[in-house]
């Protein structure tokens, strides 16, 4: 029987040997894949064992995200609290065990949990682990102005819309607000209350960051792009004169002005922008062709996700959309250039993009990267990331930008945007009323820049969008823009 027993020994050892091999497989080869799985609660516990970095606003300096400690099964875990609730909910996002993360809490997770590869972080982390202390994450300081955020949210009220304001000289984002907002503290435990939020639009989508992921018909704000394209191509000047019959004929069909009852007669390009005359821009568009206008738009950042520190899927590119997809025409004849020239057709834009457009015009044609994060600091107060102005590209020549800026200033001085005038400041702006096809539910816009006078570069640019409006951009969005701009100009005046 001994031969059989020896063989049986080999079989038994092989059985246990298989276990050694498979243990090795799961603990080495497959371990990384398993650790990355969404339903891996162990990884989540590990992440929550980190004393997550804090997030601060620019001014007043406030903790927008902090931690509360809780001991679970002998482990100290850190859970997020957002003392300012809705105020910066969309930018900061949330970090929860049950619903994962959004906003900067998601995109900056590595920094906040000290998993980034900076040397000082690695050293600090190793020391913390050696001392048996919880790992401390890096703190983040934002560019947001908390008071202006509050003003913007209050001004939006129950309306659905968004406000983005930035410093066009540096790209620092001062205001980024989306309405309706939500209280990120409710996400973990009473998500029901968030899904019950209502507003003047349906669905209310409170979690959507409309400022960077909301796509809206730009309406007349797009004329800023068209005018830039016209001047840049040197096919028109501000003085180019047109006859406005109150409509424009595209493919044999009439395209009416906003108010057809009083045609302007003979009018130049500058005044056409000041009074937002559709027929003029319609003819300009037909003359330039769709692709030339779109290529100018591209130089302003259209057709790419605006670079911002928030997660990529919380930012959308502006441009023509077809069947829910970004679309660039192969031929000029594929697109109705006349209607596109004043922001209709299938053109969809984000408020962030339009704030970038207004700012670029204001500062002489230079497109800067928008930045909502100012710096990232280790727990030991060592700065590991300090952001500075980053030029994306020159969108248009200084001459073109200055000419369009002048038109926008006149629009606020005596045109459609008078509601945005701020005493003591030079404001240039453009209104917009995007027709969605449903009467009484237009998308209204106001985009603007503001500075001390015409000579100094403007210190802020803004875009305001409102959904489901019966009024025009000049009466609905411009007053909100003014209120937010005043809040910001006051804080910069008294730093």
């Amino acid at each position: 029987m001994n031969r059989q027993i020896v063989r049986l020994t080999y079989v038994s050892l092989a059985l246990v040997g298989v276990l050694v091999v498979m243990t090795t497989y799961w603990q080495t080869w497959a371990a990384a894949g398993l650790a990355d799985r969404q339903d891996n609660a162990i990884r989540r516990v590990a992440e929550f064992s980190v004393d997550r970095g804090l997030i601060f606003s620019w001014q007043p300096r406030r903790r927008l995200a902090r931690n509360v400690e809780r001991t679970v099964d002998g482990k100290t875990l850190f859970f997020r609290r957002y003392p300012y609730g809705r105020l910066a909910a969309h930018v900061v996002g949330y970090s929860t065990a049950g619903r994962s993360r959004t906003g900067l809490e998601r995109s900056l997770n590595d920094y906040l949990t000290a998993s980034n590869a900076n040397l000082s972080t690695l050293v600090d982390k190793a020391l913390d682990e050696l001392r048996g202390k919880p790992v401390e994450g890096n703190n983040v300081v934002l560019n947001l102005d908390l008071d202006a955020q509050r003003v913007a949210l209050e001004e939006l009220g129950t309306q659905c819309g968004a406000v983005v304001a930035l410093d066009p000289r540096t790209g620092k984002v001062r205001v980024m607000v989306s309405s309706p907002g939500f209280d990120p503290n409710l996400v973990e435990e009473s998500f029901q209350r968030i899904s019950r939020i209502t507003a003047d639009c349906r669905p209310a989508s409170p979690l959507l960051n409309r400022a960077s992921a909301g796509l809206y018909v730009p309406g007349s704000t797009f004329k800023v792009i068209t005018a830039s394209a016209a001047l840049e191509a040197k096919k028109f000047t501000p003085d180019s004169s047109f006859v406005d019959p109150g409509y424009c004929t595209v493919y044999g069909k009439r395209v009416n002005n906003f108010d057809t009852s009083s045609p302007f007669g003979t009018i130049d390009l500058e005044n056409a922008l000041v009074h937002s005359v559709n027929s003029v821009f319609c003819n300009v568009g037909l003359k330039l062709g769709a692709k030339l206008i779109l290529d100018t738009a591209k130089r302003f950042g259209f057709y790419e996700r605006p670079p911002l520190e928030t997660p990529a899927d919380e930012r959308l590119a502006s441009g023509l959309y077809e069947h829910g997809r970004l679309y660039y025409p192969r031929l000029d004849s594929d697109v109705d250039a006349g209607r596109m020239a004043f922001g209709q057709e299938r053109m969809l834009v984000t408020p962030l993009q339009m704030a970038m457009v207004a700012g670029t015009i204001g500062v002489g044609g230079r497109l800067l990267e928008p930045q909502v994060v100012d710096r990232i600091v280790t727990p030991g107060r060592r700065v590991i990331v300090q952001q500075g102005p980053v030029l994306i590209r020159r969108a248009v020549s200084r001459e073109t930008a200055d000419a369009v800026a002048q038109m926008m200033r006149l629009a606020v001085e005596r045109g459609t945007g008078t509601a945005a005038q701020i005493p003591g400041y030079s404001v240039g702006g453009k209104t917009g009323t995007g027709e969605t096809g449903v009467p009484g539910s237009n998308t209204t816009w106001f985009i603007a820049f503001a500075g001390r006078d015409e000579e100094t570069p403007p210190e802020l640019a803004i875009a305001v969008v409102l959904q489901n409006q019966s009024g025009t951009g000049g009466t609905t969005a411009a007053p909100i823009a003014r209120a937010v701009m005043e809040a910001l100009l006051h804080t910069t005046a008294n730093p």
Binding site: M1, V6, L19, T28, A41, R44
Partner: protein, 433 residues
């Protein structure tokens, strides 16, 4: 050095391992070295020294490695159970105490000649079948997870399957020793008992849903049949029968299908029907929850492990991640806290035990002893393979215990009985005459 000298040295080493392990658990738990860990280590040593003295007096020529290896395995089990739940750790210690007591009692009782057992072989056979079917007796058995494993008699509860395994091996050793020449001739009429046992194995599956112990018992039977007859063909035929029977059962029993589905596809990309709450869920959140969480636990250990007391077994809201962690899934706790090094070390101890056990079988003089030792050792190896293989997704998961390590009284007692058998056989084989 004599076998007993080696045994003593091995036990001292095992006690050091147990002491250090318990100390590191208390350090992780209370951030201080408490005297309690030392007390536990001393008690552990005292217990096994007691066993050593009994072994010295009753079976002085027995193999010197088996008892220390057992001590190391129980040290693993005690440490982990104490780490996961101090109360269960205490109860487990009590069971180890009882197990050692039964080991000693068995050694004393059978010290002159254990081979008297051979004459009671049919009694053991009948007892094994009765024990296997006991959990399906109404009023006695209890269903846990759809599996009937437990028997309740008043305040007492035990898993008769563990004892049935030992009894079955004794029966088979006696029966095959007697009939092996006849069976080896391969006449059909001698295969009656073989078919009977196959039938019982299938019946047990149907009655109790307990795939694990059916696989275990049938595997032991085939192994012993092979050792007795040397006919590989019988093993192949037996395997074919088992697979055929299992295939029929697979189509007939939902429980078996579920286990196989979980094994093959633990993760789904789409939500599928979840029988637990009647809604659509990802399978990893429903049926295969336990297996998947256990794999995460193993993966989290990595090469060196998190360290004793530092592993994660609860989620952020404090709920337990892996049900039955201390019994069926003790291995995934070992793998997380001790890492690949610790888990491989544990498996190495199992391997060493298997080698020593098979060596006992090789050196035994008579057929009954050889078959008994080989059967007991192979049962030990196969049981380890079935449960750890289930946890590692090598085979479909079935709930049985990891010998000497899992929490559970019946399992501990049964395995100490197995140890007693191996010690008795090796003593007789090594005894100078």
């Amino acid at each position: 050095m004599t076998a007993r000298g080696r045994e003593l040295a091995g036990l001292l080493l095992a006690a050091v391992i147990a002491g250090v392990a318990l100390a590191s658990v208390t350090i992780a738990r209370d951030s201080e070295v408490s005297a309690r860990a030392l007390t536990y280590g001393a008690l552990f040593l005292a217990l096994y020294l007691g066993a050593h003295v009994v072994v010295r007096r009753t079976v002085p020529y027995a193999d010197g490695a088996l008892l220390p290896l057992t001590a190391v395995l129980t040290a693993f089990g005690l440490t982990l159970n104490y780490r996961l739940d101090p109360d269960d750790g205490g109860r487990q210690a009590l069971w180890v105490l009882i197990g050692v007591g039964i080991l000693c009692a068995t050694l004393v009782a059978l010290r002159y000649d254990y081979r008297v057992l051979e004459s009671y072989r049919y009694l053991f056979g009948v007892a094994a079948v009765i024990l296997l079917l006991l959990p399906s007796v109404p009023g006695l058995g209890e269903r846990v997870n759809g599996v009937r494993l437990w028997v309740h008699a008043g305040p007492l509860q035990f898993q008769p399957g563990e004892l049935a395994k030992i009894f079955l091996i004794v029966f088979l050793a006696g029966y095959l020793r007697e009939k092996r020449e006849v069976i080896a001739q391969g006449r059909l009429k001698d295969f009656g008992p073989l078919f009977a046992i196959w039938g019982v194995a299938m019946l047990v599956i149907v009655q109790t849903n307990d795939l694990g112990s059916a696989l275990l018992n049938f595997g032991i039977f085939l192994a012993m049949l092979y050792v007795a007859t040397g006919r590989g063909l019988f093993v192949a035929a037996g395997l074919a029968l088992f697979v055929g029977g299992a295939a029929v059962l697979y189509n007939a029993l939902q429980h078996v299908q579920d286990r196989v589905t979980i094994w093959l596809h633990p993760w789904t990309h789409e939500r599928v029907y979840c029988a637990l709450n009647g809604e659509l869920e990802f399978r990893q959140d429903c049926a295969s929850y336990q297996l998947v969480k256990s794999l995460y636990s193993i993966a989290n250990g990595g090469f060196g492990g998190t360290g004793l007391g530092e592993g994660t077994f609860t989620s952020t809201d404090g709920t337990t991640l892996i049900p039955y962690l201390r019994t069926d899934f003790i291995y995934s706790a070992v793998a997380q806290e001790l890492g690949l090094i610790g888990a491989a070390a544990l498996l190495l101890v199992f391997m060493l035990f298997v080698v020593r056990g098979m060596r006992v079988a090789l050196r035994a003089q008579d057929g009954f002893s050889k078959l008994l030792a080989a059967g007991l050792t192979f049962g030990f190896a196969l049981q380890t393979f079935i449960i750890v293989g289930g946890v590692l997704r090598v085979v479909p998961l079935t709930g049985i215990t990891l010998p000497f390590v899992s929490y559970g009284g019946t399992s501990i007692v049964a395995n100490f009985l197995m140890l007693a058998g191996l010690l008795l056989i090796s003593h007789r084989a090594n005894e100078p005459r």
